[in-house]
């Protein structure tokens, strides 16, 4: 990686702040691994950080000013990812990289404006909390999915986006933050997961990327919730809501057309290739592509 001094310092601070949040301990080796730097350069970097009083002298803890600086970079990174998700059509795979580049160029004022423009979001698209301008962050919640047994049901709160090959398996399954899922079966290295009427088999390395929490009191996994894409021609369903994968302009358009909880819809017309499908919505016939219909949760209505 080719980076200048300031960029290196910001990446190091961000990494240390993340370790602090996750409750992990940092060392010169983990820093070298994260930034792919030779150990000699890391030592120099740590020395610089300590001279600038951003890092405590005798350990890997951030000083008060170091933490403030780190949280600013973290806020910039996560806000920018949220911006990319909501306001551009760039694919998910490039968000992280672009945010890593852009976070260094954003001043405090830019970050403030960006937060305002986005309506002060609390979480980025992967479920990571975005620090407020005063540096507030909630306590970390949830445990890895692999720690739970078969027949357990819970809610996704975070999905780790690195490495991207594991992440893309999860994204393709349409699992996102706030998805409610159930573990159907656990084999030696893999688990069978049920989400919105669909079944997926994840290797434990994939499942470990997903952080989940218990369902709230009185809430259970609802077997009748499915995806609009599973509706066959002539079948009727009531819309429950949209997944948070449907964002920005797309979400607004669908809301405008009447894709809101309680609307009853019928699948009317199918393209021979299977997509798009025409759905009757509030008296109009609207064609949606399969990927869009995947993001709409429904409950079938018996006729």
């Amino acid at each position: 990686m080719d980076m200048n001094e300031q960029t290196l310092i910001q990446h190091t601070l961000k990494f240390l702040a993340e370790c602090e949040y996750e409750g992990l301990s940092a060392s010169a080796e983990t820093i070298a691994g994260k930034l792919t730097l030779p150990p000699g350069q890391v030592d120099q970097l740590l020395q610089d950080l300590r001279e600038a009083e951003l890092l405590e002298v005798d350990c890997f803890e951030l000083t008060a000013s170091g933490r403030e600086y780190a949280l600013h970079v973290l806020q910039a990174h996560r806000l920018y990812e949220t911006y990319l998700a909501r306001k551009t059509g760039l694919p998910e795979s490039v968000w992280h990289k672009l945010a890593d580049e852009r976070e260094h160029a954003l001043s405090k004022d830019d970050v403030k404006k960006l937060a305002e423009e986005l309506g002060h979001p609390r979480f980025d698209p992967h479920g990571d909390p975005i620090p407020t301008s005063t540096g507030e962050m909630p306590v970390k919640r949830g445990k890895s999915l692999v720690e739970y047994p078969a027949n357990w049901a819970g809610r996704v709160v975070h999905i780790e986006d690195e490495p991207s090959n594991l992440y893309s398996r999860i994204a393709e399954a349409g699992i996102t933050t706030d998805t409610v899922l159930r573990i159907e079966r656990r084999n030696e290295n893999e688990m069978h997961i049920r989400v919105e009427g669909e079944a997926f088999i994840f290797h434990d390395t994939v499942a470990a990327q997903i952080t989940v929490v218990e369902l709230e009191a009185g809430e259970t996994y609802d077997d009748s919730v499915e995806r609009l894409s599973s509706l066959r021609i002539g079948e009727k369903a009531e819309i429950i809501g949209m997944s948070s994968l449907c964002r920005g302009l797309e979400r607004n358009r669908l809301l405008d057309l009447g894709v809101v909880p309680g609307t009853v819809t019928t699948a009317e017309l199918m393209n021979p290739s299977g997509s798009p499908v025409g759905y009757r919505l509030r008296g109009a016939c609207i064609a949606l592509r399969k990927q869009q219909a995947d993001h709409i949760r429904i409950r079938k209505v018996r006729q």
């Binding site: 059509g89 694919p91 609390r122 709160v157 021979p272 008296g283 064609a287 592509r289």
Partner: protein
């Protein structure tokens, strides 16, 4: 509680809300307004589709019948346009060009106007305008109403529905099928029609690639060249078939280039634009013929025609001027032709054609007349078009035309490359202006203008190179 405590408590609770709280909140507002509306709004008429509508829909979107019906409809519209436009085009040409032009010249002579003034105004400005009107007005006045009738009836959204999966693969919207077919009538109108695509990225793709739809200013060029140069290569019995096939081939190449460039654009310069998809399939309804005629004539035909005239008129002045302004005893046009002969040769064309394309940016309709006029001027052939330098004319017959162009050194390669270049060159200035009006972006206007020229130069260059490699360098 003190105010500070309230603020602190609030920001603490803020993190406890579900992550999608905001989305759910918006959803429930929409749901509530939906409930209020359906409680208080009474709907009259049918709430569901009638049986015949359902039958018709399944016929039009069926795997086996959908495509043939679509091809048949399109062929009918194009045939009606081409056949139907011949007669009125002829009338207009007789009135405006054959009679109007000499009449005005006579008037100018009797008023003792200086030769250059009557040249600029009548040979340049008037004649170009007359040309554009007589070639452009009739086909547009037929094509657009037919198109609007299909649109009103509800057929066009079904076409978009049928073709969407093809367009989705290249990152475009099914409705681009409609703006593309509209482009076969006129690219400027096709670009205005992209307003039906509500997704920013797909709309830009449709705008930038619209020029690959052969517009009615270019169909005549294609037909003429295919008849004169390619039809004659085949035995007389199938000559018509060969030339028709060649024109169709160029049009299909345009469709392929539309897909190719859409694919490239959606993965490169446009990948950051937001994208969404919705397509309404309205109920079938009988088209309102009078309203259709009015809207398509006023909104589409006349507006586009007016813009074309505004742009073509100065082009006539420029054309007449470069032919009549001398520099070292050689006209400006001749200078330009000499300079451009070299680059023209590389892409299988010649200096005359390139000069014609530069001057004829305002309207594709005047490319062929300009090429003919410049050819006569440079070769000194007599017997055709002797009205003088800077005065456009149409060929009286195919054989006379072939003779003229052969004398000027045209070969089959020149014709093929010109057909390709006519498909892939910058949009006319009316279209460029429309792109600017629709996108309000210099960047996208430039991309739309330059991308087709680059395609054209590359394709013609390749064709010329390999053609000469196999048939010998000449």
């Amino acid at each position: 509680m003190k105010p500070e405590e309230i603020v602190e408590r609030a920001s603490e609770l803020r993190w406890k809300l579900p992550q999608d709280y905001h989305d759910r909140w918006v959803e429930s507002i929409y749901a509530e307004s939906g409930r209020i509306a359906s409680r208080n709004v009474e709907q009259q008429g049918k709430g569901h589709r009638l049986t015949w509508e359902r039958r018709l829909d399944s016929l039009l979107t069926n795997r086996w019948t959908g495509m043939p019906i679509m091809v048949f409809m399109l062929a009918t519209v194009l045939w009606l346009t081409i056949e139907g436009a011949n007669l009125p085009s002829g009338w207009l040409a007789t009135i405006l060009v054959e009679n109007g032009h000499p009449f005005l010249k006579g008037l100018a002579d009797s008023a003792h106007l200086p030769w250059w003034l009557s040249g600029v105004l009548i040979d340049g400005l008037y004649l170009t305008m007359a040309w554009v009107i007589s070639v452009m007005l009739p086909p547009m006045a037929i094509f657009f109403p037919l198109f609007t009738i299909l649109e009103d009836f509800g057929y066009l959204p079904r076409v978009a529905f049928n073709l969407d999966h093809l367009f989705q693969r290249v990152g475009a919207h099914g409705k681009q099928a409609l703006t593309m077919s509209m482009g076969w009538g006129c690219n400027a109108a096709g670009i205005v029609a992209t307003r039906v695509i509500d997704s920013p990225r797909e709309r830009l793709i449709a705008i930038i690639t619209n020029n690959f739809a052969l517009c009615n200013g270019r169909w005549p060029t294609q037909i003429l060249l295919a008849t004169v140069f390619l039809g004659v290569l085949a035995p007389p019995a199938i000559a018509g078939l060969v030339s028709a096939g060649a024109v169709l081939g160029v049009a299909l190449l345009g469709v392929m280039l539309t897909f190719l460039s859409s694919w490239i654009l959606s993965r490169t310069v446009l990948k950051g634009e937001t994208s969404t998809f919705t397509l309404e399939l309205p109920p079938f309804r009988p088209p309102n013929l009078l309203r259709t005629l009015y809207t398509s004539l006023i909104d589409r035909t006349l507006i586009v025609l007016w813009r074309a005239i505004v742009f073509a008129a100065p082009a006539g002045v420029v054309l007449w001027s470069i032919c009549n302004i001398q520099l070292d005893n050689t006209s400006l046009a001749q200078w330009m032709i000499n300079i451009l002969n070299g680059p023209g040769w590389l892409i299988g064309l010649n200096g005359v054609i390139l000069v014609a394309y530069i001057v004829a940016i305002p309207a594709n309709e005047i490319v062929v007349p300009t090429v003919l006029m410049l050819t006569v001027m440079t070769t000194g052939v007599t017997g055709v078009g002797e009205q003088g330098a800077g005065v456009m004319f149409d060929a009286s017959g195919d054989s006379a035309l072939a003779l003229l162009l052969n004398t000027a050194g045209w070969t089959t390669l020149t014709a093929v490359c010109l057909m390709l270049f006519s498909l892939c060159h910058n949009p006319c200035s009316t279209t460029i202006y429309t792109i600017w009006k629709e996108t309000k972006s210099l960047k996208w206007t430039l991309v739309s203008t330059l991308m087709p020229v680059v395609f054209g130069i590359v394709i013609c260059g390749f064709v010329a190179f390999f053609w000469r490699m196999f048939t010998g360098w000449s």
